[in-house]
């Protein structure tokens, strides 16, 4: 009984996270200007990281948590690089 409840709530949480990823993806594809797209990408990778943590709770596999850690660090670096490009790219123009 408990097992069934926890499985269903993990599934529900994953559906919510997937929906959140879809919303962030929508903002990234549509977003009127470049800064909106970067903000969407940033939210997208954080949502993806949380999704990996949810998978980790479900399977108790350490690989998911390591992947989530790597996604968190690499996403930060890429967002910083993109935001820096927004400032520098305009200076050169």
């Amino acid at each position: 009984m408990t097992e069934l409840a926890i499985l269903w709530s993990i599934l529900l949480a994953q559906v919510m996270l997937a929906l959140a990823m879809g919303l962030a993806l929508y903002r990234m594809v549509k977003g009127p200007r470049a800064q909106d797209r970067i903000l969407g990408l940033d939210t997208l990778y954080i949502n993806a990281m949380l999704m990996l943590v949810a998978f980790g709770i479900r399977t108790a596999n350490t690989v998911y948590f390591e992947t989530a850690l790597i996604v968190a660090v690499i996403g930060f670096v890429s967002s910083i690089a993109l935001a820096k490009f927004l400032m520098r790219g305009e200076v050169i123009e």
Partner: protein, 123 residues
Amino acid sequence: MSHLTDLPSWAAILVCALLLLGAAMTLIGSLGLIRLPSFYDRLHAPTITTSGGTLLVCLASILCFAILQSRWIFHELLIIFFITATTPVMLMLLGQAALYRDRLEKPRDVPQKPVPLSMADSQ
């Protein structure tokens, strides 16, 4: 599903509640990304995802595996540490970049850079 059956029922309820609450916070943050009208408003939305959502989901995981004692919980602690340390830096830089671009392209909508005192005197 061997490991989840070992959870006592009070812990299972707590883990479920934390996980669902965290996922709901994440969803609200991403919803704000869609609903809020201007870019500077949208800049506030991801902070809900990072502060509320990440913390709650990672707490659920910490609680689950601390009770089961099947693996170490340091990964979640590191995830919380990295996310809380990095997101403000990223959002600050993005806000500055957006402000810089808006000042060049549509100067009416955003506050201008304050004039330095020495220049204001000479004018």
